[in-house]
């Protein structure tokens, strides 16, 4: 999955920064603190841009390369922000054999966004995710946290339309 440096400008607030500093304080000195701090940072900011990685490295007193190394290693950490409408299509095996590849294709066509990317206007982001464990509902797609199971490509447009113009 591409995890390139984002081109979207960083818009962190003072309040977010304070929360991150507090999280760093809480974990400082704990063995293996890097990942829990990064997980909290991603929860605060929604992603881990360079600015945030620098704050974590300096806060924990570890090299930035280490923070970057960890953030680029794990699929959960993203260097890119997510769209207003955040779409994930499960590409786990159970979903794949039931045609989630065609679902993803339809999502990409509908949104004009490739998997792992965000549209320049920040409206849509699309991810092809690993198994979410809802294999009984395969194929599964998730939009802004709502799970849609047992869908066919023809359902895609209507589902996404339900999230436009601030409807949900």
């Amino acid at each position: 999955m591409p995890n390139r440096k984002t081109l979207v400008p960083f818009r962190g607030t003072r309040e977010q920064e304070e929360r991150l500093r507090a999280a760093i304080e809480r974990h400082r000195g704990e063995p293996g603190a890097t990942m829990p701090v990064m997980q909290e940072a991603q929860e605060i900011y929604g992603y881990l841009p360079e600015e945030v990685q620098i704050m974590i490295a300096e806060g924990l007193g570890v090299p930035l390369t280490e923070v970057y190394g960890v953030s680029s290693f794990y699929a959960q950490f993203t260097h890119n922000p997510k769209g207003e409408v955040q779409i994930s299509v499960c590409l786990g095996t159970a979903c794949y054999v039931k045609g989630s590849g065609a679902i993803l294709e339809r999502v990409c066509r509908k949104t004009g966004c490739k998997a792992g990317e965000i549209t320049p206007d920040g409206k849509f982001s699309v991810d092809a995710t690993r198994c979410v464990g809802a294999c009984g509902l395969a194929p599964v797609m998730i939009v802004n946290g709502d799970v849609y199971g047992r869908i066919v490509p023809d359902n895609v447009d209507a589902i996404i339309d339900g999230y436009l113009d601030g409807k949900k």
């Binding site: 990942m35 997980q39 190394g69 290693f73 959960q76 690993r130 198994c131 023809d154």
Partner: protein, 597 residues
């Protein structure tokens, strides 16, 4: 305590939660109140019942009535008819029962009848967020027994005698592993639980953590006593939010009740544990990579030896087992090793949970005695392949496993028999495929997965999986040669022999296995430039049969590429240069005039 005459169990597993089971619970609360029954009936959120295909599931006790596909708007009927008047709501019964018109209890359905639930004994039975319910089902009795009646060596001997083997995939004898870990002395030792269930399509560990988290906590405390450890870690996927939440609740309740902490049961034994979240890396299911990840680093595996029993987490002696393995332990201690060993085959004792998925009617979790033939799992428990399609193969063990073709459907599911035909038990993912699945495409799917998930530390895996993926890409796009198949086999051997960890060593398995049983499909792609299952796009073309086309224009209106031309009531045609082969025309045509070749 109020007298409650009816318990209404609502599944709170991930699958059912996704299809509105929390709203169903709320609606039950509202309706019971509206009918003045809130003191007579109790609503309980449980873990997964296993039959995810029928979700959301509601079970009403004492009758044991099994309601399927329940929607919030059905709740009023269940309350006003069943709870109030004692009349079963027939339209919501399980399909097998709907036909006969009689309701059976859960245990009598074909799906459950052939199962033996040891690991899943409490899933769908108790409320996982209430420790008293676990205790009522003999919870923490095994821990009390080992702390007050057994020596650490006796515990290890009991686990050895049960014949339990690691359920995470490798199948290493659990008692042996405990013995090794007990053998290394040190001021600090760790007990870890691998809940980084990464095999796409396997979800039994998630289900245990969601439905019965205390069984894992209890087992880890027992293991800690056996090897002499005071601190445990559970490494769990962050993608499993419900499991993480319930596990954390369970740990804090166990502390409150004195099952974790200092001086447990007044015996002076001390043990506590923490939860660490994974961050989405398949390789972290490998034991050394998992420990590197808990230490806060990139989850890259380390060479073994030294094995974790000697030098594991933070360089200390460490015992690591997976969730399902642990969930067996309290049952074994309570019921005895012999009772456990009575299930299964000579070398594969006990039961194994399989996650049935893909093209099968009863998708969900099944726990069966080891050695149950695949046929029974697919045809009896699983209810067969839906839509009248033919069973083609079952993929087991995910990206590290292989497939079992229809010709070997009588293979007993145990470690030895599955290894003999080039597959593995693995973590227990069992994905059923029918005639519409292309085996070359499936091999490519798994190689794309291992290529992405290769940590990059050793070159056989990092470069090898990429090269194999490229060759499969070439074959599925119609540009493959017969030499490519030979190269695939040669690469597979090298990668298997030279990779550092299990991920790389087993990455070629899906290719080797599909080549063994479905070589003709590879040859069809390479020589005839044809995909027999009709999956690989580059090898397909769509055509409209002029004699069947009524000129209704539906295909042309739905074609996203504008590739279909024709006038009303005249036969249409597809421009192959514009066609993107999405298949929409085939789906939409009511007259069977569109064909895929």
């Amino acid at each position: 305590m109020n007298f409650v005459r009816t318990n209404i169990l609502v599944c709170g597993g991930t699958g059912c939660t996704s299809s509105k089971s929390p709203e169903i619970m709320e609606e039950f609360g509202r309706q019971l109140k509206a009918f003045g029954l809130e003191k007579e009936a109790r609503v309980v959120q449980t873990g997964c019942f296993g039959l995810c295909a029928a979700g959301p599931i509601v079970v009403v006790y004492p009758e044991g009535t099994y309601y399927c596909h329940v929607r919030p708007e059905d709740v009023k009927d269940i309350v006003s008819e069943h709870i109030l008047k004692g009349r079963i709501v027939r339209r919501l019964l399980y399909s097998e029962d709907k036909a006969s018109g009689t309701a059976r209890s859960l245990e009598e359905t074909d799906f459950y009848k052939k199962q033996k639930r040891i690991v899943l004994r409490n899933c769908g039975v108790i409320n996982p967020e209430d420790i008293t319910e676990y205790i009522a089902f003999d919870g923490y009795m095994a821990l009390a027994k080992v702390l007050t009646e057994m020596t650490p060596q006796q515990v290890i001997d009991e686990v050895k005698a049960s014949g339990l083997r690691g359920r995470g995939g490798a199948g290493f004898p659990t008692g042996q592993k405990w013995q090794y870990a007990a053998g290394y002395e040190g001021p600090v030792k760790y007990v870890c639980c691998n809940a980084d269930e990464g095999d796409p399509g396997a979800f039994m560990d998630r289900s245990v953590l969601e439905g019965d988290p205390h069984s894992v906590i209890e087992a880890m405390a027992i293991a800690a006593y056996a090897i002499g450890s005071k601190q445990g870690y559970v490494y769990v996927r962050a993608e499993y939010p419900i499991a993480v939440k319930r596990l954390k609740i369970a740990i804090s309740q166990a502390r409150e009740y004195g099952f974790l902490g200092k001086d447990i049961f007044g015996t002076g034994f001390e043990f506590d544990m923490d939860v660490r979240l994974g961050a989405g890396a398949f390789v972290c299911g490998e034991e050394t990579a998992l420990m590197t990840s808990i230490e806060g680093n990139r989850g890259e595996p380390r060479p073994r030896p030294p094995f974790p029993a000697e030098k594991g987490l933070f360089g200390r002696p460490t015992l690591l087992n997976n969730v399902e393995t642990y969930a067996n332990i309290p049952w074994i201690i309570n019921n005895g090793a012999a009772a456990y060993a009575a299930y299964g085959t000579e070398k594969s004792r006990g039961t194994k949970v399989f996650a049935l998925g893909g093209k099968i009617t009863n998708t969900g979790l099944v726990e069966i005695p080891m050695g149950t033939p695949l046929r029974e799992v697919i045809e009896d428990i699983g209810g067969g392949v839906p839509n009248g399609k033919k069973f083609k193969a079952a993929q087991t063990g995910g990206p590290s496993g292989g497939c079992i073709p229809a010709s070997l459907i009588d293979t007993p599911l145990d470690y030895e028999n599955m290894a003999a035909i080039g597959s593995i038990v693995g973590s227990g993912g069992l994905i059923v495929m029918d005639e519409d699945n292309c085996m070359v495409d499936i091999a490519k799917f798994f190689l794309e997965f291992t290529r992405d998930e290769s940590c990059g530390k050793c070159s056989p895996c990092r470069i090898g999986t990429t090269r194999m993926y490229e060759i499969l890409e070439k074959i599925t796009s119609g540009n493959g040669t017969l030499e490519d198949i030979d190269t695939l086999e040669e690469l597979a051997r090298h990668i298997n022999e030279n990779s550092l960890c299990g991920l790389g060593q087993t990455a070629p398995k899906p290719i080797i296995s599909t080549l063994t049983y479905f070589r003709d499909e590879y040859v069809a792609h390479v020589v005839d430039k044809r995909c027999p299952a009709g999956v690989c796009k580059a090898l397909l073309s769509y055509r409209i049969l002029a004699d069947k086309c009524r000129g209704c224009t539906v295909c042309a209106r739905n074609c996203p590429a504008g590739a279909i031309s024709g006038t009303v009531k005249q036969a249409h045609s597809i421009d192959p240069a514009k066609c993107v082969k999405c298949g929409v025309c085939l789906e939409k045509c009511k007259f069977g005039a569109v064909v895929r070749e």
